[in-house]
């Protein structure tokens, strides 16, 4: 029984510690401590540095758990230049919280803004729902965003709205096809090879074409996704939209779409 009580107490402490780490103030403080103490080797704000790797880039990590991160800072990493840190444990935990926030999906992050207002913008002024499905409603030509907060980081979401994308994701390139019998079909190309093409047209129909049936196919150079939402929306509106998008997460039923999240 005593042992059980001890376990319970430990569990409570570790729970408290973790929830403490999720508070935005701790993450902010963790960032300050990190930038003050770790940037001799690592880069500013967790970026790659002169002598040590980035901590928040989109890649696989050797150290995923909070305890692993804590131990690496506290004890150093043997065989590498990473030294043990003399910092107090509380500071180390705050750095851990900051590193975790770099890796978190938007749904795991603290995102300021009014999500209800963001929802109105999504379906209204922003025009997002014209192309994107969310919760089974909306347009078809963009990826389903019902789980975007659970899949993407906050910075990814912000960049998607405000920065031109260097690549159009596979399956979403806009095309104009002229068929061999003279029809014009506009839409996005879902898949193609040297012998056939599969399109989703703006008529919301799938078009299946062989190369014999295509006279010309014109590929648009840019995605249909606007990248100027920092101009279309006020800063507060953009933040509200991000607050709404970051909350779009579900634990199951996620659709893996072509060109999106595709591993291997």
């Amino acid at each position: 029984m005593k042992l059980l009580m001890a376990y319970l107490v430990l569990a409570v402490i570790s729970q408290a510690q973790r929830s403490m780490l999720r508070s935005p103030q701790d993450v902010t403080q963790g960032r300050e401590i990190y930038n003050r103490s770790c940037t001799m080797c690592h880069g500013l704000d967790g970026a790659v540095g002169d002598r040590a790797p980035a901590l928040g880039a989109a890649r696989r990590y050797l150290r995923n758990s909070e305890q692993d991160l804590f131990d690496a800072i506290k004890k150093g990493i043997p065989g590498t230049a990473m030294p043990p840190s003399p910092m107090p444990d509380g500071h180390i935990w705050k750095i851990v919280g900051f590193i975790r926030s770099l890796r978190a999906t938007a749904s795991d992050s603290f995102v300021r803004g009014d999500a209800a207002s963001g929802e109105k913008i999504f379906w209204g002024k922003g025009g997002c729902g014209d192309c994107h499905t969310l919760g089974g409603k909306g347009g078809l030509l963009g990826p389903d965003l019902s789980n975007t907060g659970g899949e993407r980081s906050l910075s990814y979401l912000r960049d998607s709205l405000t920065t031109p994308r260097p690549h159009i994701p596979q399956g979403y390139r806009p095309v104009t096809v002229t068929t061999s019998d003279g029809r014009t079909i506009e839409g996005i190309i879902r898949n193609e090879n040297n012998f056939s093409a599969q399109m989703l047209g703006q008529d919301a129909k799938l078009h299946l074409l062989t190369r014999h049936e295509i006279r010309e196919i014109v590929y648009a150079k840019q995605s249909l996704m606007p990248s100027d939402y920092d101009k279309r929306l006020s800063p507060a509106e953009l933040q509200d939209l991000l607050a709404f998008l970051s909350r779009q997460a579900r634990s199951k039923g996620s659709s893996r779409q072509r060109g999106e999240n595709r591993k291997s």
Partner: protein, 526 residues
């Protein structure tokens, strides 16, 4: 943003309206260019009027494409084809393919991906694709993108429920069944609003105390009774009746704790499509102790019977008998064995009840039982060809040694079978494709397959005079519908456990099936 993109974007703005891809009117027709449901049409005849591929040119049939489904094995999905788009599934996953080229249009992967299988296919209605899941949900996706539209919980997955069933769309509702009865979980058939996912009705396969049929269960046995609904049924739009086969009672091999006929296990039931109310039932194996689920597909045919045109329902049952019923009333008209190895009954009464051979029940030391529990047939689809008048069925000749023991129900999805069966060493199992005369069940031809205990490959019939059937050696074979002669074959390289289908797009007929981990489509060489 360049001007082209702006122009495109302007064209795209607005919600995505499009005419429904699949309507009730389309579902009322015989299969043609499209293959719209698990059995191709509501009557479940699995007979296609397509005849571009026929007995005279089937030798020129060649593979047109293959699509590999990663992580799949022994697929049981029957592809659905709508306007050239093929929808095919494995547990937790749906794929939309270009039916001419096999190229992927979209894929959907449900999380968490529980590992229960198989999945026998999807349904398409309106602009949505529907499928059942290993965690006992019915899921609706947008047919053009694979985007999730809604999901409805059928039952508690943690109780052990799941759904391998290819749903059936009927008048704006999606009909879906559940598994497994072998775990002592009571079965039901559900109807969901195709648009909203709200449940419209549920028919429970096991009557509760006081309800008609409850007198066929002794004691508390009705509580853990089985009676699942794991294979897609058929529908008569004129009578507005859904016909569905019901699974075995639990515990499967020990009937001592559940005295009585155990309704509505081992029945075909006729349910009102609007309300789910039971119109009639017919029980093939009252008080079954051999796990002979009666889920085999009820095939609906209008044909003269003893000089009068009747609405018939025929079923080749796992218990070894072929049955002819009047589907308006459920009246038993005729029944005869379609396998030679049948030792548990000497025949059927004029009401269709089996005349049992005493002692052919599972025992502690084992009892030879023919057909085996695997069944004289099983989920492999049968077909009916109106040109030949023959009913085609994949049959297994063989016996099992059936044993029983004491078993107690454990909640949480554990087998509640009271042991089981092994293949009889004296009568090893043997697969056949058989043509039966529709109203008499008389054997018209018999095509013996290599292979034994691994089965699942059913048939289709075409107006080209052909029967296509797979086998456990991975061979898809075209048989002459009139005489059962093999005219063409192709080695797919993997065991076939699903039934083929056929469709046409832009003037070309294809025959397709899932074979092992691949989808394979065939067409004429050109």
């Amino acid at each position: 943003m360049n001007s082209t993109t702006l122009l495109l974007l302007a064209g795209f703005v607005g919600p995505a309206f499009a005419l429904a891809q699949v309507t009730t009117e389309m579902l009322l027709k015989k299969p043609g260019d499209n293959w719209l449901s698990y059995s191709g049409s509501y009557d479940a005849q699995r007979h296609s009027p397509l005849k571009q591929i026929h007995t005279g040119n089937v030798r020129d049939l060649v593979p047109k494409w293959m699509y590999h489904i990663r992580g799949a094995s022994r697929l049981e999905s029957v592809p659905i084809v709508v306007d050239g788009v093929m929808y095919v599934s494995q547990p937790n996953e749906v794929y939309a393919l270009d039916g001419r080229t096999g190229r992927l249009i979209w894929e959907y992967h449900r999380q968490p991906a529980l590992q229960k299988g198989p999945n026998r296919g999807v349904a398409v209605y309106g602009n949505k694709v529907y499928f059942g899941t290993p965690d006992a949900h019915l899921v609706a996706l947008d047919a053009r993108t694979g985007n999730l539209v809604w999901e409805a919980k059928l039952a508690e997955a943690r109780d052990g429920y799941w759904s391998p069933v290819a749903p059936l769309p009927v008048k704006g509702k999606i009909i879906i069944g559940i598994a497994p009865g072998d775990h002592g979980l009571n079965g039901f058939l559900d109807a969901y609003d195709a648009e909203t996912g709200k449940r419209v009705w549920r028919w429970e396969a096991i009557p509760r105390p006081g309800e008609p049929g409850s007198e066929t269960w002794s004691g508390e046995s009705w509580k853990t009774a089985g009676g699942d609904t794991w294979l897609t049924g058929s529908y008569d739009p004129e009578l507005n009746l859904i016909y569905w086969g019901i699974g075995n009672p639990a515990p499967d091999f020990d009937g001592d704790s559940r005295e009585g006929d155990n309704l509505y296990t081992e029945c075909v039931v006729a349910l009102n499509a609007d309300t789910g109310k039971l119109k009639w039932y017919f029980q093939f194996t009252p008080h079954d102790v051999h796990d002979w689920d009666a889920v085999e597909i009820p095939v609906l045919v209008d044909a003269p019977y003893q000089g009068r045109l009747r609405k018939l329902l025929v079923q080749a049952n796992r218990n070894g008998f072929y049955y002819v019923l009047d589907r308006t009333t459920g009246e038993f008209l005729h029944g005869t064995p379609f396998v030679k190895l049948l030792n548990w009954a000497t025949g059927l009464t004029k009401e269709g009840r089996p005349i049992r051979v005493p002692g052919v029940v599972p025992s502690f030391q084992g009892t030879k039982t023919c057909p085996a529990t695997a069944g004289a047939t099983n989920w492999m689809s049968p077909a009916f060809n109106p040109d030949t008048g023959f009913f085609y069925v994949v049959a297994q000749e063989g016996c099992g040694i059936n044993t029983k023991s004491a078993d107690t129900f454990r909640p949480g999805g554990h087998p509640f079978m009271a042991t089981g069966y092994i293949e009889s060493p004296e009568e090893p199992w043997q697969m056949h494709v058989r043509a039966l005369e529709l109203t008499t069940g008389k054997l018209k031809w018999d095509y013996k397959q290599i292979g034994s205990r691994r089965y699942g490959a059913g048939v289709i019939s075409t107006a080209g005079g052909l029967i296509f059937v797979g086998d456990d050696q991975g061979v898809l074979t075209a048989l002459e519908a009139s005489a059962g002669k093999a005219l063409w074959h192709f080695n797919t390289g993997q065991q076939i456990t699903a039934s083929p289908m056929t469709y046409s797009f832009k003037g070309k007929q294809y025959v397709a099936l899932t074979a092992g981990s691949n989808v394979v489509a065939f067409g004429l060489h050109e």
